[in-house]
Symmetry: C2
């Protein structure tokens, strides 16, 4: 099993953006030094808790000060972009990284952001736009044919090349044919994950869904793969989880129940998810009432919290329960207190993961 990182990021409303961006960057630097294999950074405009509108900019900054960690958008919400310009931005970033880049794509989920661009998620238009926009980006990279490109969602032209002044669409990504594409699935039997299986993209199961939903994710991935006559590769499957490791289980549990993770759940996600009718995702028993989904319940049932031994055991059990997965993505929260969280990320990498080496194959 490989070890990666996924950060929304999460910072309380009113936080100073310069400070939070610097803190986010420092997390990436530290995880690069620890040997984490990849990090994904979220994109949100109107979610003040998740306060990075342009993850590609933070990734670009991090490229200069990290050496091995693969960096990815987590995800580029296609409804926020026009395909022509995002094709160029992503290709340039891939070159700047010399291929140390994964391109996460998605249709957006935060209600405010969809509203900005006039998408009503009930119609599914954002998902249809995303499917078409990603295809178009891939086509622009492969063969940017001159002509008019027009749809309900975009309107641009690719000019005829003019060789005397080298006027042409010239930028393709560094990685051939393109950076690995990642997509995040949330709901049971996620269609997005089926598409990942079909297209050979990296499937990511997002944090805090219960294990029976994770199992349905794999079913979806396999279904997609079989549609394309391929077999799905479990080593590509990423599962995101809140992970807290400390020398003792007591210490880990105390921090999980009272620190930034608990704050982020209580003040944000446990308010946001009911609005989007997504509380069911967190329930190990579909009949339990929303009010039973507390931080304590999550620490006991969904999060991976404990001593190195306990966390090793929980991750082995998760791996077995879902049938095996390739990369654990530990979720990002503010590292307060910093020493505790650095220790947690270090114990996970150095004490826990070596014992899970044979998993995820």
């Amino acid at each position: 099993m490989e070890l990666g990182f996924f950060t929304m990021p999460l910072h309380p409303p009113g936080a100073n953006h310069a400070d939070t961006l610097e803190a986010d960057l420092k997390q990436l630097i530290y995880l690069d030094q620890l040997g984490y294999s990849e990090a994904w950074i979220g994109e949100h405009y109107t979610a003040e808790w998740e306060n990075i509108p342009a993850p590609d900019l933070l990734i670009a900054q991090a490229l200069g000060v990290t050496s091995q960690i693969r960096l990815g958008t987590g995800v580029t919400c296609m409804p926020n972009h026009d395909p022509f310009s995002i094709a160029h931005r992503i290709a340039q970033l891939d070159h700047m990284s010399r291929g140390r880049f994964n391109w996460g794509v998605g249709s957006g989920g935060f209600p405010g952001d969809l509203h900005v661009n006039g998408f009503d998620p009930r119609t599914g238009a954002n998902r249809e736009m995303t499917r078409q926009a990603v295809e178009l980006v891939l086509q622009l990279w492969k063969d940017p044919k001159p002509g008019i490109y027009k749809s309900e969602w975009w309107d641009f032209n690719i000019p005829e090349p003019e060789d005397d002044i080298a006027l042409r669409v010239h930028m393709k990504p560094y990685q051939n044919p393109h950076p690995p594409i990642g997509v995040a699935g949330v709901s049971p039997k996620s269609e997005t994950l089926t598409m990942a299986g079909e297209r050979g993209w990296l499937p990511m199961s997002i944090n805090f869904v219960s294990e029976h939903i994770l199992r349905s994710h794999w079913t979806a991935i396999e279904e997609g793969a079989s549609r394309a006559g391929k077999s799905a590769d479990r080593s590509n499957w990423r599962i995101a989880r809140e992970v807290v490791v400390a020398d003792s289980s007591t210490e880990a549990r105390k921090q999980a129940l009272s620190g930034t993770l608990a704050r982020d759940m209580e003040c944000y996600f446990l308010k946001l998810l009911p609005r989007s009718k997504m509380m069911g995702l967190l329930k190990i028993d579909p009949n339990m009432p929303d009010s039973d989904v507390t931080v304590e319940y999550l620490v006991d049932n969904i999060f991976i919290v404990g001593s190195p031994e306990e966390v090793t055991e929980k991750l082995s059990s998760l791996d077995e329960s879902v049938g095996g997965f390739g990369t654990l993505m530990a979720m990002g929260h503010e590292w307060v207190p910093e020493g505790f969280w650095k220790t947690s990320m270090g114990l996970l990498k150095e004490e826990v993961m070596p014992k899970l080496k044979t998993l995820g194959r």
Copy 2:
């Protein structure tokens, strides 16, 4: 007089993007170490010679590996962007830089890029769009009122804030009220420069225009300032110039006539400018035929080429001729051979500029 840098950048068609982006980054790192005060990086999609579509990404990468140089988009071509997303990107970048950022804006000039977004430069629609878009960005930073924002060129909504989940447009720039705005003027009595004078933005006179046009630029800036009841400040005025310095005049002249600068002029600009009917800008005598505008003519009449003494003399003379300006922006070309160009940039900073300290005030 301060010393800055402006790069399109310029690389021959077919160049490897990863290599050219790395070379561009290394130039910024070197100039930062030398103490250059600022650098501006161009934005082009379909100009393979000028091969950076997203200068903000390169700036973000450079932030991590430079310490004092101010970095700026040179310029953000507003027709390539929607005001809502560029407001967020620029604000985030300003935070990431902790204010070491200048925001250059413009209406785009390269014919292919305007065609991509459906603008016919003959109608001036790109300039009108730019004026309105910059105003809107400033308004979004100042007071992002909920509502529908719709024009011929954009269509987005700002949602009503929802305090329970901190759903709101929350990002303003780091610098208060916003990063310094720079605009580039080219044509005689440039309207763009008049606007700079009126709004208190940084006026930049772009490279290779002859001195009589530079003088008309200052007239335009002053006219704008007086419209707003202000007096224009010459220390804000930037003039871009090709500059080559070597130990001897002979050596500087030889490199200017045979190296990357000559290549970039002959193979690109002297083909591009006639198409846009812009050759007149380069003429010290309006009646000279286009065919007389050769690299040799430019080296003798427009570019600043020579030994440290000769370059000091030419810059003093330029300063006197235009009535004084604040920052010289040396133009970027490929530093081939690297040693020659590093020496040139170093001599300019260390031998020439100290003698011009009292100018530009």
